[in-house]
């Protein structure tokens, strides 16, 4: 197994991967601490929450690439799994506020506002981080498993599957919007103070969360590489290309799809849980249908079925988004739409595809 893992990359590939990790978790923090404030090398504190957010998006893109890029199942509902992980973390963070809320009560503020007298049963346990941790690991995957079981069993495919995932995320958004559901209604969960006793306002906490996110992303990148490079991964791409052939070759494709779908949701849930303490809020808008579509676009733009493409795509699109929201907020959606159309029509292999094509060309030129 260790041998298999080492063989995932060439030496050069591993060096590159580890350098990226090193830059992320060592160099950038060092530049923050040691580079003088006015130097252009200095990375200000607030940047780390932003980087952390991007890394969470990258993790989402990685998860979507597994199910869409490799297995050919387009999900437009990953916002749900992201939100489930996010809400679980949010509930823990709400409980950690303790009596420091506006109403100085044991209960979260929004419950006081609704005139609730006691904690609903489904909030029990969230004062414990361990409990929350397991909910984060289990809930999104479990939800995905149940949903996927029925969808794949009824052999719902392609566009139809994409549409029901949109319906799923829309339905859950409406549910979470209701105040009575008990997750803070349209305001969601916010005003967090502490995580594991550390203040969320502290730069050191933010930095730690960022570093943790980078490490988690690295681990899941290696896991995903392992998955797609195993025979399991070859079966997934085979399902994407010709599911009938796979079934007639003796594979239970339902199980394969269900497995990767659940893994994908699991990863996405963890991304959501890491995201919430870094942005300081989770609300139902995370489950807007358009949110999930945007996630799929990250992967399409970066390039499907390569893993690295997903990571690059998440970075590029969100980088552009950050720029647009400052410079021209009204035009962001137009830009996104056009970008998606251009990529689908002219660069089906995405950004990464353009590069590998250039590289092949260059090699060809050298040889000729």
């Amino acid at each position: 197994m260790i041998k298999q893992i080492i063989k995932l990359h060439s030496l050069k590939g591993w060096l590159f991967t580890f350098s990226l990790l090193g830059i992320a978790i060592i160099l950038l923090p060092l530049l923050n601490i040691f580079a003088p404030e006015n130097s252009f090398l200095h990375i200000p504190d607030y940047m780390f929450s932003l980087f952390g957010k991007y890394l969470c998006y990258a993790l989402v893109a990685l998860a979507i690439d597994l199910i869409w890029g490799y297995t050919g199942v387009l999900s437009l509902g990953h916002g749900v799994f992201f939100s489930l992980g996010g809400y679980a973390m949010g509930m823990y963070l709400m409980r950690s506020i303790g009596k420091e809320g506006v109403y100085k009560s044991e209960l979260p503020d929004f419950m006081i506002f609704l005139d609730w007298k006691e904690l609903p049963w489904y909030w029990w346990g969230f004062d414990s981080f361990i409990f929350t941790f397991f909910v984060i690991l289990i809930m999104p995957g479990l939800f995905a498993f149940i949903f996927g079981y029925f969808a794949f069993k009824s052999r719902i495919k392609g566009v139809y599957f994409a549409i029901i995932t949109q319906a799923m995320t829309y339905a859950l958004m409406l549910l979470f919007f209701r105040n009575n559901t008990g997750f803070g209604g349209n305001n969601g969960l916010t005003d967090f103070k502490k995580i594991l006793g550390y203040s969320l306002q502290e730069p050191s906490t933010k930095m730690s969360l960022y570093i943790l996110t980078a490490i988690v992303l690295f681990i899941f990148y290696v896991v995903a590489r392992f998955v797609v490079q195993s025979k399991f991964g070859r079966v997934l791409t085979a399902i994407r290309d010709s599911e009938n052939r796979v079934m007639f070759s003796g594979y239970n494709t339902l199980n394969y799809k269900l497995a990767i779908w659940t893994i994908s949701a699991f990863i996405c849930g963890i991304a959501g849980a890491l995201y919430v303490p870094q942005v300081g809020i989770v609300n139902p808008s995370e489950m807007q249908p358009s949110n999930s579509i945007e996630m799929a676009i990250w992967v399409a733009v970066g390039g499907r079925g390569t893993l690295s493409g997903a990571l690059v795509g998440a970075g590029l699109v969100n980088g552009a988004k950050s720029w647009f929201t400052v410079a021209a907020p009204d035009y962001w959606l137009y830009f996104l739409g056009i970008l998606f159309i251009v990529v689908t029509l002219f660069f089906p292999k995405g950004f990464v595809g353009i590069f590998s094509r250039l590289r092949i060309k260059r090699k060809g030129n050298q040889n000729g």
Binding site: A238, N244, F248, N252, T253, N255
Partner: protein
Amino acid sequence: MDSSGAHVKDDLIDTRHGCILYIEEVTVSFDGFKALNDLNLFVDDGELLCIIGPNGAGKTTMMDVVTGKTRPDEGTVFFGQNLDLTQMTEFEISHAGIGRKFQKPTVFLNHTVFENLELALHTNKGIWQSLTKTLNGKQREIIEEGLETIGLKNQKNLRAGLLSHGQKQWLEIGMLLAQDPRLLLIDEPVAGMTHQETEHTAELLKSLAGKHSVVVVEHEMDFIRSIANRVLVLHEGHVLAEGKMEEVQNNPKVIEVYLGS
């Protein structure tokens, strides 16, 4: 476990009466149109059976029914005397020992020739196995032999999408063999093949009979003539005639159907 993949489930299939496949009174309708109409068809264990018939006769639909892709509206399909195929899923049927080559060659275009055979190879096809196991020496050997048999040794690291039509046909046949099934259903194997390739395929299929049972559907009459033992003519979802090639060819009903179409 014997990973060479010799028929693990052999003893599960009851062929004591000499028959391996029983299709009885099967009817399949698509929106009222009967693609198979009260079809009765039996395949002897170890025989090479050829099925001919005009376009739309229901040949492919027959294979769909046997492999679980289409469920019959009426009738029964048994593998051996004991396995009711109408109650099994596609992959269970494949596990039981039925392999199929599609009319339109269906191989994994983005995988290499070698990987195509690897995926087909008879082995444990569970998720955990796929995730953790790599090919052992014996299995590599089987794949290499397979490459030899289908004449694609030099193309083994080539993406299957880059193969010629005939080569894809062979690759698919190779995948079938790697699956090591008891019964092979082969739909139009020589379409798009050169004369030489066709001859080679005929040799290959003939060599399979005995060890495997083989059902071949083909329009190419010379090819059928070169391999056929028993021939069966399908027409409008029903068996019109059966017998030796010459008998069938001289059967007035058959002549009428073919000239009429």
